[in-house]
Every structure is written in structure tokens, then in C-alpha cells.
């Protein structure tokens, strides 16, 4: 469904953020992308959406090569890729509803969006999504009045209203407390399952990743050096990704967390 072929990104500064990354994400699969800071996780996600233009290689979504699209084609394909950001990236001075509806910008004309006269079907869907993430009563609040977890829920609703085929998620829990982090991860994974969405989730918290996803990809210095199930993440593998450290505790905790259930 989503296929990266020899994706390479070299920044103007000469930093090679990605080198020859090959990755295939089948429909409905949620992948956790782990790796140390600066390994190229954010760059990878941004290259798929072309917020960053890759230097070479291709990213193919359902047969369309995104790297070779013109401006109009790119806008059309971006609609099919919902992004969820670190620090939420809501437009803080817009209302919750406007933030959610901004996910429809790729579908409506300028005048309609300028006058905030979105089609009724979009408005209905926005309310449905807000209800799904538990923020229906907040629709007309300004985004900067919300707490971190609430903002990220709005971010999720904004990505889903695009009716995407794939979710690109960049450190969704980086600025959230442990409990909210789990709730957000659970929500993202549930929604992916409900809608048959594929997702790539960049995440620092290895433990959290192992709790929720079926597949983990490890990135180090712009290369994929691990690709497997959470169970295959041994201390040796983590050492090769992050460097020497005592990893036993990180991995052991998984069982406890699973049993603990709803947080």
C-alpha cells in the first residue's frame, strides 16, 4: 500500500538523514518507528508527505509515486495522508472545530473555507469525530484552552477527517504524561483498526510502542537496522539501535503493562 524505495535525504548542510530506506507498509498495519534522536524518524515521515523533499528514491502510495508529483497532484495525495504531530501543532488561535475542519481543506474551495461554510457532510463528520475522541462539548473552545491530551485528540480528529489511507504520526506522546500517553496511543491504534488504516508512528518510548503495535522498525543513522515483531526486540537489538545500556527492565515491563489493562 505504502512503499518506500531507496528513499534518501541529504540536507543542505550535508547531513545524510536517510540512506536507501526500503519499507513496505501493508493496508491496516500499524508500525512503530523507533530510534535515537537524529536517526531520521521525523525526516522519514516528512519525506512521505513531502513536507521535506527527498533527495532520491521514491515513496509510492497505492501505485502513485509521491516524489514525482506536481503541486496539484501533491495536494491531492496529501489528503490521503493524515499527519499527527509532536506538540500537537494545532493552530492555537482557531477554535477546536476550525482545527478539525482544516483537515478538509484539500477537498473544499478557497471561498468556502475562507467563509467557514464547509459542506454539511464535513460538519457532521467533524462532530462525529469529536464525539469519538470525547471532545464534543469542546467544539467551540479555542485550541489553546485545551490540555495537552485534549489537543492531541483534536490533532487526531483533524487527521482522520481527511479520510486518509495512511496515518503519519510523529512523536504523538512526546509531551504527554504517562497515562495520557497510553490513552492517546490506544486511541490511535483503535481508530486505525476501526478504519483499516495503515500507520507509521515515530516514538521514543520503546515500551509504549511494544504495548500497542504489531511491527517495530528500528532506525539508526538513517538506515533500517531492525524490522520485526515487538517480541523480537531483545537487549542486543536495542543496543544496536540506541547503544550500550541495560535494556532488561525496558523489555520486562511489557508483560506487567499488558496485564494492568485500561489506564
Amino acid at each position: 500500500m505504502l512503499k518506500l524505495e531507496k528513499l534518501t535525504k541529504i540536507y543542505k548542510t550535508g547531513d545524510k538523514a536517510l540512506s536507501d530506506v526500503d519499507l513496505e507498509v501493508p493496508k491496516g498495519q500499524v508500525i512503530a518507528l523507533i530510534g535515537p534522536s537524529g536517526a531520521g524518524k521525523s525526516t522519514l515521515i516528512r519525506c512521505v508527505n513531502r513536507l521535506v523533499t527527498p533527495t532520491s528514491g521514491s515513496a509510492i502510495l497505492d501505485g502513485v509515486d509521491i516524489t514525482s508529483l506536481g503541486a496539484g497532484g501533491l495536494r491531492r495525495e496529501r489528503r490521503r495522508m493524515g499527519m499527527i504531530f509532536q506538540e500537537y501543532a494545532l493552530v492555537e488561535r482557531l477554535s477546536v472545530m476550525e482545527n478539525v475542519l482544516s483537515g478538509r481543506l484539500g477537498y473544499v474551495g478557497f471561498l468556502r473555507s475562507f467563509l467557514r461554510k464547509f459542506p454539511q457532510s464535513d460538519v457532521d463528520e467533524a462532530f462525529r469525530l469529536l464525539d469519538r475522541v470525547g471532545l464534543l462539548h469542546m467544539a467551540d473552545k479555542r485550541a489553546d484552552e485545551l490540555s495537552g491530551g485534549q489537543r492531541q485528540r483534536v490533532g487526531i480528529a483533524r487527521a482522520l477527517i481527511q479520510n486518509p489511507a495512511v496515518l503519519l504520526v510523529d512523536e504523538p506522546t512526546a509531551s504527554l504524561d504517562p497515562k495520557t500517553s497510553r490513552q492517546i496511543m490506544r486511541l490511535i491504534c483503535e481508530l486505525c483498526e476501526e478504519r483499516g488504516l495503515a500507520a507509521i508512528i515515530n516514538i521514543h518510548d520503546v515500551n509504549l510502542a511494544m504495548m500497542f503495535v504489531q511491527r517495530v522498525v528500528g532506525l539508526e543513522s538513517g538506515r533500517i537496522i531492525f524490522d520485526g515483531t515487538p517480541n523480537q526486540l531483545t537487549p542486543d537489538v536495542l543496543t544496536s539501535i540506541y547503544g550500550e545500556e541495560d535494556w532488561e527492565a525496558t523489555i520486562e515491563k511489557v508483560e506487567d503493562d499488558d496485564e494492568e489493562g485500561d489506564a
Binding site: 513536507l51 495525495e77 496529501r78 489528503r79 482544516s102 481543506l105 473555507s113 483533524r158
Partner: protein, 270 residues
């Protein structure tokens, strides 16, 4: 050779000098003192003229104590109305033009050629003082408020576009990026991703500029560009200091009202 804590304990600590080189520091201080002595020495103060000026100043103050609103009221009224019209129209037109210029002059969203063109427009507008532009435009369009209107519209562009462009350059990139990632067109991106972030600044600057334009309109009248300044000039020429006082009081009152209004509105839009 490592730094040992024993070398530091018990020693006095002083803030390092702003200029660490003592020769440079002391020569700068001495040069400044010599310059000040020479500069003050070169002023030729003729005390008999100061005395005459004090007398004239006193007449002015006496005139001020009895402002005369009535005898030239229709002139004052017309001048004020003209000034307000010049102010409002030039501010609106100026803002309308400076918004696209500001978008073009923000290096983070405009391509380089557009950026250079818009920065040039801003530089030209800022380089030319209002009075000079007004003299030029009075020469072209003749005496009257049209020249004042055009001058202030022109000046507003340089002021507002520059400050707004800087605010756009300082905006939060990730918010704008998030809007772009939805597949929004450029205009939609500006409307949803950029505009909400710079709106408080735009409103604040616009009101501030309205204030400036009103004060400028009083000055521009002196060179024939219409408004209350023209009335003020006439009153000065006739040595009618009581009328001058009335006009100045009205200008001060208007500026104070605008000041109060701008504070109120800016607090509201945060």
C-alpha cells in the same frame, strides 16, 4: 593543568567589563569625553535672543490659557473632518495594500524574487520621509487632502508591511506545517495556518498606524496637504495663539482617545 577550586575560593568576584581590552575601553571613554567638551563648547548661545524667545513663549502660554474654539470654529471643524477622512481612508487603503506586500516580504513563505520586490517596496516607502513625499505629491496633485491621503497611504505600506512581515517570519512553523500537510492550497494555508497567528499583531499595528496617521495629517497640512494642519498653519500665520491652542488641544484629545481605544482593543484580541 586543571582549574582547582582552591584558586577561586576567597577571591573577589567582579562582573567582567563590557569591553575587555583596557586600552580600547579607556580610549573610548576619553574620546567620548573630549567630544562632549568640544560639542558643548561649539554651541553659540546668545542670551539676548533666549530672553526675547522667553517673552514670545510667554505670550504663547497666555494664549494657551484661553483657548478660543469659537471665533474660527467653522475652520477648525472643517480641518478636523478633513483630517479624520484623510486618516481613516489612508489607513484602510494602506493596510489593504500592505497585507499582500507583507506576505511577499516574509522570507519564510515567499520565493526569493517576490521577496526582493516586496522588500524593495518597503525600503522605498520607509526611506522617504512623509513630509518629502507630501511636498512631492502637493507639487503633482496640487494643494488639498488628496496629496495627504496618498502620502499617508504610501507611508502606511512601509510601516505595516515591514512589521507584519517580521511577525510572519516569527510565526510557529509547526502550526503552518500541519495545515499544509492536509493538502490545503496556498491561499487556504495562509488563511488557516498563518493569518490566525499574526492577527493580534495586525490589529494592534493597524490601530497604532491609525494613531500615527492622524498625528501626521496634522503635520502634513503645514506643507499644503490639507487637514487640520492647514488650519493650524493659518492660525500661526495670523498670530492667533488662542486658536492655535484650541486646535492643539483638539489634536491632543483625539490622540488620547485613539490611544485609549487601541489599548482597549489590543487587550481584547489577545
Amino acid at each position: 593543568m586543571s582549574v582547582a577550586i582552591e584558586d577561586y575560593v576567597g577571591k573577589r568576584w567582579r562582573k567582567p567589563h563590557f569591553i575587555s581590552n583596557p586600552i580600547l575601553r579607556w580610549s573610548l571613554i576619553i574620546i567620548t569625553i573630549i567630544y562632549l567638551i568640544l560639542a558643548i563648547g561649539s554651541l553659540e548661545v546668545r542670551w539676548e535672543r533666549v530672553y526675547l524667545g522667553l517673552e514670545r513663549g510667554w505670550r504663547f502660554i497666555v494664549g494657551f490659557s484661553q483657548p478660543d474654539f469659537t471665533s474660527r470654529w467653522s475652520d477648525i471643524y472643517e480641518g478636523m473632518v478633513e483630517s479624520v477622512i484623510i486618516t481613516v481612508t489612508s489607513t484602510i487603503v494602506g493596510i489593504a495594500i500592505s497585507i499582500p506586500v507583507a506576505l511577499g516580504a516574509a522570507s519564510n513563505i515567499a520565493p526569493l524574487p517576490v521577496y526582493l520586490v516586496c522588500r524593495t517596496i518597503i525600503s522605498v516607502s520607509r526611506a522617504l520621509n512623509e513630509i518629502i513625499v507630501a511636498i512631492l505629491l502637493v507639487a503633482i496633485f496640487g494643494f488639498g487632502p488628496l496629496a495627504g491621503f496618498l502620502t499617508l497611504s504610501f507611508a502606511t505600506i512601509g510601516f505595516l508591511a515591514k512589521l507584519l512581515a517580521e511577525d510572519i517570519e516569527d510565526m510557529n512553523k509547526s502550526q503552518a506545517e500541519a495545515v499544509r500537510s492536509t493538502g490545503a492550497s496556498w491561499l487556504q494555508w495562509v488563511n488557516f495556518g498563518v493569518q490566525p497567528q499574526v492577527m493580534p499583531r495586525l490589529i494592534g499595528l493597524s490601530i497604532y498606524r491609525l494613531d500615527i496617521n492622524f498625528r501626521e495629517s496634522a503635520v502634513l497640512g503645514l506643507v499644503g496637504a490639507g487637514g487640520i494642519g492647514a488650519t493650524l498653519n493659518t492660525a500661526f500665520d495670523r498670530y492667533e495663539f488662542d486658536t492655535v491652542a484650541a486646535i492643539l488641544i483638539m489634536i491632543i484629545a483625539t490622540v488620547m482617545v485613539l490611544e485609549f481605544l487601541s489599548g482597549f482593543i489590543r487587550a481584547k484580541v489577545q
